[in-house]
């Protein structure tokens, strides 16, 4: 029976040879992402910015420019319109209104009245959301705390299970993935909302997962090949786990691509971020996380100091 193999058996790709190039590329991308984040910023959704979001189903595809003009003249400040999924489905975003929640409600009513005047009764309100300033500020706070707490928790876990080299390497790879993902949001202008934070946290989990598998193998090989050169050993470990790394990324991507194509418009930003994150996470665990160990000076000596932590893995050897 013929079987697909994403990666041939027994590869000997010298990943470490290109580590400086990979570091350079990543450094550049990170700088670019940070630059984009501070210059253009991310396209914050109402969750974080406060404001109003209305999704309307129009009886037929409307003239968006005309609609934008009319709603823009209501004196509500910035009003952004975009088609959402289909031409007759319009997403209206109105900037946060000065004043309290009542001001926001009043703005929603103004939009509704205007739409009723221009398009009659056929307008269906698929979604109406408004987030006041206190809530959005809290959501920003919680989101930052959540990502920070997740990174910290992982750092501690890996530090407990491995050595500090691995812990720091994994976190750097992780931060790399998070920064690039945020950069992706800044570049693509995909709305950054609560679902995006969920995506980032999932990427955090996934990226660590991928890195841990490679690290696990490096640790194992340190015990198995006592005399092997560290560079050769790391390369060997990456190659040995390469098949698994690509397989898992591929199946996850298959599911995410299905979600991207068929999952509907509301979830598309989420699936885009996830797809990007999986690709970046896979790249970083191979090209960044593993080579970082070399940079940190992981050696046979430091690996042996880790004796008690690997006792558990040792028992797996009997087979």
């Amino acid at each position: 029976m013929y079987k697909i193999k994403l990666i041939p058996d027994n590869t000997h790709i010298p990943f470490l040879k290109v580590r400086m190039i990979a570091f350079a590329i990543s450094a550049l991308l990170i700088l670019g992402s940070i630059g984009m984040f501070f210059s253009a910023g991310v396209n914050k959704g109402i969750d974080f910015e406060g404001g109003i979001l209305i999704e309307v189903g129009m009886p037929k595809a409307p003239d968006v420019a005309d609609m934008r003009g009319k709603l823009g003249d209501l004196g509500l400040g910035q009003v952004a319109l975009q088609t959402f999924g289909s031409d007759s489905d319009i997403l209206i975003r109105v900037q946060r209104q000065e004043g309290d929640a009542k001001a926001q409600e009043a703005a929603v009513d103004k939009v509704k009245v205007q739409l009723a005047k221009d398009y009659g009764d056929g307008v269906s309100y698929r979604r109406v959301e408004f987030v006041g300033p206190t809530v959005s500020a809290e959501l920003v706070q919680t989101a930052i705390e959540a990502v920070g707490a997740a990174v910290l928790a992982m750092l501690v876990y890996i530090w407990l299970r491995f050595e500090w080299h691995y812990s720091v390497g994994a976190i750097m790879a992780l931060v790399h993935d998070v920064i690039l993902t945020i950069g992706m949001f800044a570049v693509t202008r995909i709305e950054f909302n609560l679902a995006s934070v969920a995506a980032i946290l999932t990427i955090v989990g996934y990226s660590i997962n991928d890195t841990v598998v490679v690290y696990d193998r490096i640790r194992e090989n340190f015990r198995r090949y006592k005399k092997m050169d560290v560079k050769v050993l790391i390369d060997l470990s990456i190659n040995e786990t390469l098949s698994r790394t690509t397989m898992t990324s591929f199946t996850t991507l298959l599911a995410l691509i299905a979600l991207y194509i068929f999952g509907g418009e509301v979830i598309r930003g989420f699936s885009t971020a996830m797809i990007f994150g999986i690709v970046v996470g896979t790249y970083s665990s191979i090209f960044i996380a593993a080579p970082l160990l070399l940079l940190f000076g992981l050696s046979h000596r430091s690996a042996e100091d880790d004796g008690f932590k690997s006792a558990e893995a040792e028992s797996g050897e009997k087979g």
């Binding site: 809530v135 996850t252 299905a258």
Partner: protein, 527 residues
């Protein structure tokens, strides 16, 4: 290995049976489920508001108003206590600011007497603290400052009472299974399934609906700018452009003493007929008896609805509020009066309403994405690992059953991000199997026998699987703890998915492989 332990087989079988049995109700209509006997599992997955359509409102109790009201009533109590028949304690400038009540004794020598009279304002609370600090200076300056704890207790009580009133109002509108709960110190989360356009409910929640009856001050002029005598206040009309009224501060009867309110018609006009309880009826009877011929102002939230003339004493305990309502206005007012007044105004901090079409579209899209994702992953696994891929696919299918069943049993809420979580889990679920299979492949390559290769493949992959999943699990847990609403739903499915994928890979697929090994006893492994 040849003999997979019996107890493990039993555990796997039980878990799988659980998964299938508790997933099935989701494919049966609610009506059919209700007809089945009690012992048949009938829990279905709850759909979040974003999937079934509905409205989510986050309300905040206006705590400033609560505190201000608390201070106002302290001012009243102070006045009552100082003014005792025949033995008045003289004072002036009795007022309050945002934090305390203050006044000045006319005669500083009255300090002790004042302290004694005011002692009822500062009681010992359950935590041993005094509810207010009373300070009397040598110059007769008196301040009464309620303690933090007393204010907190008052706010907490106000929020509890608001929740009760909100519940009654929402129930009156006939919404099915609304969820109303407290959030944090002063917030109330209202979830209204099936309500795509919550305008009416928002309007109803926006009214405090404090109904009071006052005498109109006939000695004062209501002309704009005219002086308002002490003991009276100027109130606007509820109708736009209507005249102002000067009414006496004293509340003759209040809405607290209402027993019922209904919208009816009187001479073709929509009106609200009200009926007082025993005490209210007596108060109303006395007020109307003593003031025949005078106008009686009906005040709702500090606006005058109308001020009809009292033609004769009303002793029946019933009355009619007319005031140029339309039918809907009369119905809403009746509803508000029946449900009772809010202790303080509510502000809407956040609203998320999803119409039923969008919810249905999301479910449909999620289903399609899920099915296609599963099929793609399943086909790919077989294409890569052959027969072992089939084992992994069985584990994957069981995985989905387990997620669905746990969601059903926990009564967890499935949201759109939750569906994304399931689809994502599908992709990641095969990871544990991939780790194992790749390990077995390696063992085969170094020349181990099929039996040994499988044995050590599982053993060696085990720690990796644990480490890898614990980290993702940490992310899911943090999302669950810190996330809100839909994000929480995502975390739940992700977390359940991690646990069930570990179980299915380590137990179920291993069992399948070991059964297969026993039957076929293969000489080589096709993997």
């Amino acid at each position: 290995m040849n003999s997979f332990p019996t107890w493990k087989i039993i555990v796997v079988a039980l878990v799988c049976a659980f998964g299938v049995i508790y997933t099935l109700p989701n494919f049966v209509s609610r009506a059919t489920l209700d007809k089945l006997p009690e012992w048949v599992p009938s829990e279905q997955i709850n759909l979040g508001l974003d999937l079934q359509g509905g409205s989510h409102l986050l309300l905040q109790v206006d705590t400033k108003a609560v505190v201000s009201k608390m201070l106002e009533s302290m001012v009243d109590a102070t006045r009552d206590n100082l003014r005792e028949s025949g033995d008045n304690v003289g004072y002036r400038n009795l007022t309050h600011d945002a934090t305390k009540v203050s006044f000045t004794l006319r005669n500083p020598a009255d300090a002790d007497k004042a302290r004694e009279r005011l002692s009822s304002l500062s009681t010992r609370m359950s935590n041993g603290q005094l509810s207010a600090a009373i300070h009397i200076g040598d110059d007769g300056e008196v301040t009464i400052t309620p303690s933090e704890a007393a204010i907190d207790a008052r706010i907490s009580a106000a929020v509890d009472q608001s929740i009760e009133i909100v519940r009654r109002r929402v129930d009156e509108t006939g919404v099915n299974e609304p969820a109303i709960q407290r959030q944090g110190r002063d917030r109330i989360l209202v979830q209204l399934p099936g309500v795509g356009d919550p305008d009416r409910i928002k309007r109803l929640l926006g009214e405090t609906a404090q109904l009071t009856f006052h005498l109109v001050d006939l000695n004062a002029s209501a002309a704009p700018g005219a002086r308002v005598p002490p003991g009276s206040k100027r109130l606007p009309s509820i109708h736009k452009g209507g005249p102002d009224y000067i009414v006496k501060n004293r509340v003759m009867v209040s809405g607290e003493n209402l027993e019922d309110a209904q919208a009816t018609f009187q001479q073709g006009q929509p009106v609200v007929s009200i009926r007082f309880d025993g005490l209210g009826g007596k108060q109303f009877g006395r007020a109307t008896t003593d003031n025949v011929g005078k106008p009686f102002a009906i005040v709702l939230d500090d606006k005058v609805v109308s001020a009809p003339r009292i033609n004769e004493p009303i002793l029946s305990g019933s009355a009619v509020i007319s005031g140029g309502f339309d039918v809907k206005g009369a119905q809403d007012l009746a509803l508000l009066l029946r449900a009772g007044a809010l202790p303080a105004p509510l502000n809407i901090l956040e609203e998320r309403s999803v119409g039923p079409d969008l919810g249905a579209d999301s479910i449909a899209a999620g289903k399609i994405a899920g099915v296609i994702g599963v099929v793609a992953v399943a086909v790919f696994m077989v294409a890569t690992y052959g027969l072992f891929g089939v084992f992994a696919d069985i584990a994957l299918a069981m995985n989905i059953f387990l997620i669905m069943s746990v969601l059903s049993v926990l009564g967890a809420t499935l949201t759109l991000p939750g569906i994304a979580g399931i689809v994502l889990t599908i992709g990641m679920a095969v990871d544990a199997n991939v780790l194992i299979f790749e390990r077995i492949r390696e063992e085969v390559r170094v020349g181990k026998s099929p039996f040994n290769a499988i044995q050590s493949g599982f053993a060696r992959a085990f720690t990796t699987i644990i480490d890898a999943n614990v980290t993702t699990g940490i992310a899911a847990l943090i999302l669950f703890v810190m996330g809100s609403g839909p994000v929480k739903g995502f975390a739940v499915t992700l977390f359940i998915g991690i646990i069930s994928s570990m179980f299915t890979a380590i137990m179920l697929s291993r069992m399948l492989i070991s059964f297969w090994m026993e039957r076929k006893r293969p000489k080589t492994l096709e993997l």
